[in-house]
Amino acid sequence: MEETIEHSLELHTELCFDQPETDASGETRSPLALKPGELAVVNSLAPRQVTEILRTILGLRRARAGSISILGEDLGRISRRRAQIIRRRLGISGGPVELVSELTVEENLALPCALKKYSKKQIRLRVERIADIFALDELLKLSVGQLGFVERRMVILARALAHDPELILLETPLVGLDEGSRSLAIQEIRRLPISGAAVMVFNDTSEDLETGGTAA
């Protein structure tokens, strides 16, 4: 039986707000929250704050105050092992996330699927699908070092989505992309909430994700 999660993401943390958690009247400020099937674009946070939130979610730092709940679980209260398992259900692009330089593009795309313990056949199908969506077929056998800036960003984005994550966090996903890549990315990101994933995009000032962007 699938467990129902009210919020895929809840941020109660000093990282989100420069001000204290209570406002002038003493009321607790509403946390930054996201429900399954929602797409939210958040432009109110500084890049530093977004990076720190992502670093906390990725386990690279601990939140000094407040809490971050991912898929119904408070990261500050669960074990490291449990946090690792939850991370496999996330798709993150931005912050400290980079491609694994020793692997090829294909191996990078396959990694999150392998960590989620999909079968070999399922992994192959997913990699083919995501490569097709983002027009990466010709790059699959290349090593990461052979990729240009735009290609890297597309592969990072594709890897974040390859394993059908339940919560997707993207920081400036469209920056630096050419028109064709941008259009593909917008199309895929807008499609994700339909399949039930929660998507939070940080600092997309182009408003393309909210409006649908410019068609290719």
Partner: protein
Amino acid sequence: MSAGFFASEFKRNLKRSPFSHLGALVMATVLFALFDLLWIGSKVADDYFEKLFAELQAEVFFADHVSESQFDSHIAELRDNEQITRVEVISKDAARQRLRQSLGRDFLLENDSNPLPRSATMSFERGFVSTVALDSLRRACLRWDGALQVSYDRSWLSETEENQRLIGNALGALLIATLIGATLNAALLAGLVARSKTRHFNQLRMLGAGSSTLGWPLILEGALLGALSAGLSWAAVLYAQRRWFDLDIEWAIPPTDEIAMFVGAAAVVGALGSALAARMAIWRKG
């Protein structure tokens, strides 16, 4: 993660630092070859001592009042003992003859009777002789009515056993030292590989890889290093023995199943060394 992932990680590690891997393999092979030679040496030493002990004889003397039937019964009991390979009966006359041969003349000529007792000398199976075993045999023989004495060179046996023990301890210490060296060698390689892959590991962790996903390739690499170097060491020792040292010395080469067990144990040693290094490099960071 699948076996394919681990195999790919191993290939990547090998490609990233081939000379480190080669160096570790050579070092481990040399250490295990030393271990093999010490092992052979300890078996040669054991064989030598066993042969030496098997040459020791004991002699049981009987009083004159013991009847022929009682005497025959005691001799039969000795012959029935599986650890005694040969029982030689020495009659009173034969004893006198031996005394005359060893001293050069018959000192008992002027005696009216032959005071020398009947006796039986015993030779033993290889592997039986020890002070404990012969003391136990002596006590058993002395319970017989009419058994006067059981004689054997106990002080020599005791000293030789002590020498054997000292040699065994020294060889054992050297064997343990080489095993520790081999473990540390595997740990060194795994530590080098882990430290050179810090960024790689961090990125995998961010995707949700656990410590076992990161550590198992290193442990399997250590096991492979251990098994391969142990196999190579025996190949080198056997080749050298046949090619250059085929002397008239009997090399006590262990049987194939023991060598196979040793290769398995070497794999465990390699895995253990790598696990220790992986624990420090990976597990502490969660």
